[in-house]
Symmetry: C2
Subunit: 365 residues, 2 copies
């Protein structure tokens, strides 16, 4: 029994809950070490206050699950078997009568919810997510070692991208080179779709890289991250190709000031809201408040977006071991888009900035 | 009002349903033309039997949604606003009292389900998915044109991969080159994680490409697809590097025979089960039945896995305009893994194989 399952079991006991039934790949990976994308097929881990947990997966993934280190029961099912019958039987075999079930209400779909209602004869459902989020929010040494490695590759990726900038290359040309070099180095999975945006394309905070060519006087925005051994990194840098206008420079320096101030405010005891507002006020004071339409940042780990969420209303207090992004941005349509994002680890006395690519405005000649 | 929304509205009327509330990116794209990955944020389309539909999206995506061609109301919300209040208000404004709501039971999560129960004061929930699947299952000419283009890029990708095979290159080296060339050509999104598996790695049907080096006598399996203008392709080819053993050849030829026979059986009026069993019986007759642990194929379109599902128990009858994969495989651990997959369009008189990379066993020297 690993300590994560043990901790979750203790919580189930405290909550007087008969079963924890988890279906999200990320929580399953956290508890079991097994990572899989089952598409529309069912992947689940069931944990009980007492007794042996089990994993449910497609028959053809059973061997992979075993190799991942899951040493409890595995219920493998083929495409023509009904996994819910297997689950019902496995629960019955354990002598468990389900009165109260903890599920991921933000992940479990209505169809599966109705199946669970059916096979467990209408239990009460409570959310397991807050507990798993709080378990996952504080990273242990082993996780931090992996995250540091993931972050190193994000820095490498930005370096690669910046070195590829040249007149006439497209966003996709640069993006292709970044991911090519990562793959050659053994990094095959990105944490999300890599963004390379040039010129005013960067003013769309969720823009799609395309065939726009880089030209002198443009800002080039990189937002990317890798998945390394199941953990995500996430970095944004915006660099200049040739000389910039005064307006572009003002926007960049405002974002940098906001980002730096938020990092300086980051220590155990500060709240998420304090950090967000530290950055937001600097941007608002410069008159760009309405051009910063998103939260300051988000937790980072097995999921690229997890807890804590750094919004201006979140009173959650920071603790050592939390890892999150700080990523203010200013997006003025048809003028410029700038975002600067670091990955931050809260330490005993303050914080450590994990990402290391320079943030002073880089002019690429 | 586009014809898809109109068709869905007619169904809502027939079902005496007050609202269709859809939250999956794929169905939203199908109905609205707007494609977005909102992460944990809410993205939704609401359709009513009468009256104007609306789209709900993060404030910062509003302009993108408008540009995608959605010309009805858009409810944009910031990270600190509650989108459910906006939805409740927009529904009230339309004078709609929700007694019965159609949702995607396989997609909608329990948390949102409970929110809808709350803001609509406990309506009956029915599933909208079967209707949307049947609408989406038959492709129109415009969709087929896009899918053909997506398939062309899948063929190109396999060609690129095969041309990169060389002694000592790793799976990831070959994969890196494939995606590099695609991106340079403007194709940035893969339909799923590209698979390049060599030697016995191919015997894991969902294996992960890594640093295994290609060596003579190996089979190399490619399974990949691209997303082109929102539609997916999906192809698998297995080729030989150098000479193969008799066993490897037998496995290859058995899969090829099964795949070819299933395609020959493919015509309007045949069932999904008939196709699956045509291939499965050939594989079983050769003694490899237990090494073919998955269905024959799956529908293909906006989603890489959609309807129809080609299992040995699905009595769904094929109709012209359906597009799906046919992809039998044999995976003998520590011996060989072979899968051959084509994208198939059901025509008036039979079918058309959209993918065109050769299937006779290719020996790469």
């Amino acid at each position: 029994m690993n300590h994560r399952i043990y901790d979750f079991q203790q919580w189930l006991k405290e909550q007087d809950t008969s079963i924890g039934f988890l279906t999200s790949s990320d929580n399953i990976f956290y508890l079991s070490g097994f990572r899989s994308d089952p598409h529309e097929r069912l992947l689940a881990v069931a944990v009980f206050p007492e007794g042996e947990p089990f994993l449910v997966c497609p028959q053809m993934e059973k061997a992979d699950a075993r190799r991942s280190g899951w040493n409890h029961e595995i219920l493998g099912y083929t495409d023509i078997e009904n996994p819910w019958e297997l689950i019902q039987e496995a629960v019955k075999k354990r002598g468990v009568s389900v009165k109260k079930a903890a599920v991921e209400k933000e992940h479990l779909n209505v169809e599966r919810y109705e199946m669970l209602q059916h096979i467990f004869a209408g239990p009460i459902f409570v959310s397991a997510e807050e507990k798993l989020r709080s378990l996952r929010m504080i990273k242990d040494e082993k996780e931090l070692k992996i995250i540091r490695e993931a972050v190193k590759w994000a820095d490498f990726a930005v370096e690669t991208g910046v070195s590829e900038i040249a007149e006439g290359k497209t966003e996709l040309d640069v993006l292709a080179s970044i991911e090519y070099e990562l793959k050659k180095a053994g990094i095959n999975e990105m944490a999300f779709s890599t963004m390379v945006l040039t010129g005013t394309n960067g003013a769309s905070p969720h823009g799609n890289p395309g065939k726009t060519k880089i030209k002198r006087g443009d800002l080039v925005l990189f937002d990317l991250g890798v998945v390394y051994e199941g953990y995500c990194s996430d970095i944004t840098r915006t660099v200049a190709f040739g000389d910039l206008s005064d307006k572009q420079i003002e926007i960049y320096e405002t974002v940098l000031k906001a980002e730096t101030a938020a990092i300086e405010a980051c220590r155990p005891g500060a709240t998420c809201a304090e950090l967000d507002l530290t950055a937001r006020n600097i941007i608002s004071d410069k008159g760009y408040g309405s051009y910063f339409p998103h939260r300051l940042g988000h937790g980072l780990g097995i999921s690229v977006h997890e807890y804590p969420s750094l919004t201006e209303t979140n009173s959650l207090v920071l603790k050592p071991g939390m890892v999150f992004t700080i990523e203010p941005g200013i997006y003025v349509p048809d003028v410029a888009g700038v975002r600067i994002e670091d990955d931050i680890l809260v330490t005993e006395n303050g914080c450590e900035v994990l990402t290391s690519f320079p943030k002073s405005l880089q002019y690429i000649k």
